[in-house]
């Protein structure tokens, strides 16, 4: 009994120590992003000799959103003779194939791939797309994204640096105003990109390639081998595969792209559970390799390890809470009086929500947000919600590891209808200005995102809060 209590107390103290490490890490990120010199991306380089690129857009039953992303990609500011778009119809049973074929008939650089054999899921679809891709650089967008006109050039330019293996742009929710969940996810994204990713890029740590709004070198990818279709977070896996072989992974805070975040808690739960499962699969596979890598500095290794454990910490916290409950009923409230205060504070503010409240507050401030930060206390509920689904994902990853079972890809449900983002059907492609016009139509005609506008270069920005200024 005595030994058992000692173990429980030790676990509690160790958990608090882990929390302190993460609190310090995120505090350093916050200070760095706020005060230190910002490491800018390569967007100031004007490259007239554009590289050939292939844009891969995996799609499984994406008829609600397919026209919008394809429409915007056809209007992208990139020479068409250097551009190839491969929308991958991945076992769709809705109208997606017809939409892809319709666009392919109008644009020679759109080459749809229809898949109805083999494995389903994003990694498998990307592997199939890679076999057809002719571009030197591969750029990936999820089907619900709304790429602005200049983003392809912005992403590609960094590959003039021969050390760069992959790059990740910033993801900004477009349906922020839909409900409380989307507003809270907007806060979460803001903290994650504006502060976390940019600070890691500033500090030459480990920015993460996120699997969309990003690109990588095709030849490097082919040399590394295709995506493991059993790993549900192909992006995290690619990040570590590149890092372990000495390639740089960059973060481009200026390369913003809008996405649709989940609008219901069930969909969000499934999404975060998949992320957790995939991320922990990567943890189990790459932890030791990361520690032993000769290509990474000590600080990169430390940050890499902390990054790998991000989706394990909520479970560690849940277990610590269960641990304190047991200690409570065993009559050890004495230790809890001191430790529990810190435990709960750290739990609520650190990893249950992926970022402490001060990091999200600073991100919101930098973004120009005024009112959205008032929702921060609501994150207390998200802490329990996230912990629940992340813990399930963790156990699934453990089972994957132990049993070697194969995984099944579950697509995130889309909420957007064409009525909310009207796209001109069957476009007659006449003028270069059409893309800008179309983008304006998309944003200005939609009352739910009336705060968004495009500037003269076709970049999206908000005129209300969130991104008050744009050059």
């Amino acid at each position: 009994m005595e030994v058992g209590i000692l173990i429980l107390k030790t676990y509690l103290v160790v958990t608090v120590c882990v929390m302190v490490i993460y609190l310090i890490r995120h505090f350093l990120f916050t200070l760095n992003r706020l005060f230190q010199e910002q490491r800018i991306y390569y967007q100031d380089i004007i490259d007239s000799d554009l590289r050939s690129i292939t844009v891969l857009v995996p799609m499984h039953n994406e008829e609600k959103v397919a026209r919008q992303i394809l429409g915007l990609l056809t209007e992208a500011d990139y020479r068409h003779d250097q551009l190839e778009i491969i929308p991958i119809n991945d076992f769709s049973s809705d109208g997606t194939p017809e939409i892809l074929d319709e666009y392919a008939s109008r644009y020679s650089f759109i080459k749809p791939l229809h898949r109805y054999e083999g494995e389903r899921g994003k990694p498998a679809a990307l592997n199939a797309g890679m076999k057809l891709a002719k571009g030197e650089i591969i750029i990936v967008f999820d089907a619900d994204y709304l790429p602005p006109k200049g983003i392809l050039k912005e992403i590609v330019v960094c590959f003039n640096d021969p050390e760069v293996g992959a790059v990740m742009g910033r993801v900004v929710p477009v349906n922020t105003k839909t409900n409380l969940l989307t507003r809270l996810l907007d806060l979460e994204r803001s903290g994650g990109y504006q502060v976390d990713q940019q600070a890691r890029y500033n500090m030459k740590l480990v920015p993460q390639y996120g699997g969309t709004v990003g690109g990588f070198r095709k030849d490097v990818f082919m040399a590394l081998g295709s995506f493991d279709t059993n790993i549900l977070t192909d992006d995290t896996e690619l990040t570590f595969r590149l890092l372990l072989r000495g390639w740089k992974v960059l973060y481009a805070n200026r390369a913003e792209c809008y996405e649709e975040v989940p609008e219901t808690w069930d969909v969000r739960g499934r999404q975060i559970r998949r992320w957790s499962r995939g991320h922990n699969q990567v943890l189990f596979r790459y932890l030791w390799a990361l520690l032993a890598s000769p290509h990474l500095s000590r600080k990169e290794k430390i940050d890499g390890v902390l990054l790998l454990f991000v989706y394990s910490i909520p479970l560690i916290l849940v277990l610590a809470i269960a641990d304190s409950l047991v200690l409570f009923f065993l009559g050890d409230m004495e230790i809890l009086a001191g430790v529990s205060a810190f435990l709960f504070v750290a739990a609520y503010n650190t990893l249950g929500n992926f970022a402490p409240f001060y990091q999200i507050g600073v991100a919101s401030l930098l973004d120009g947000g005024i009112n959205r930060v008032l929702l921060l206390p609501m994150l207390i509920f998200n802490f329990f919600f996230n912990s629940w689904y992340i813990s399930i994902g963790f156990f699934e990853a453990v089972l994957d590891k132990v049993t070697g079972r194969s995984t099944k890809w579950l697509k995130t449900t889309r909420f957007r209808g064409e009525e909310s983002f009207p796209v001109r059907p069957a476009p007659v492609y006449e003028a270069e200005s059409y893309g800008l016009m179309q983008a304006r139509q998309l944003y200005e005609s939609n009352p739910t995102i009336s705060g968004h506008r495009t500037n003269q270069r076709g970049k999206f920005f908000r005129v209300q809060e969130g991104s008050a200024s744009d050059s």
Partner: protein, 256 residues
Amino acid sequence: MPKSIIYYHRAYRKITGSGRLFLLELVAVTAPLSLALLLLYPAITEQMSLVTQVILSPYYPADTIKVVEKSFLFGNVSVVSIAGGYPTALTSLINFIVSTGLVILLPRVRKTKNVAIFVVFLAAVNVVSALYFILSPSEFPYTATEFSEHYVKSEICMWLFIPFILGIAFLPLPASFLPKMVLIVLTLIYSIVLGTLRYAIFLLILSKCSVIYMALLFFAFGPLSDFVYVVGIYCFYASKLAHRLKASEPVWKWVY
């Protein structure tokens, strides 16, 4: 229409500040407040307990509520001594059934699922507590007075923690030191006042309802709930500041 001012893009804008200045300010905030708390906590807890005694006095005979002293850190803390009510077997059973029902049913809620899962957490704590009282009620390790003592001690820990965490949150923000310091002190005072009111409510629940809810009060409405208003005050200030900064172009710097 052309813009009259083109602001820095959000991607690389920053503010001026220094890590050393921040550390100095953090010490300037936390050191005096921590020192004051360490010097004053016996007096603060005494006042807290006396106020609680006054609040509870209409509900109990005068001689059943006492303020007693317990040792903590460098001195004594005053705590309210009160007799707790113990649940009957039926009460424990009802609590167990209702809480288990919530644990089973609430995850099926689709809307406001985040709140539902939070309530599942509360119910799960209560399930464990009810089960404990069903199986071995005589072995429950605490009296209401012991809970009272631990509550006061954990509140002191929380008060010591507030200047530090709010210092970390407030001080990097681009505003002068004094208002931030004032806000931290006000938050601390608010925490003491609210902590006292909550103390009285907790003791009332433990004695009038039963100690079956002790775990729930400790885990769900203790330090965790303290942080809701701490974050609330932070975000209120951050929002006001953001509004002010919007019209204050010189605050923002670019890259360097």
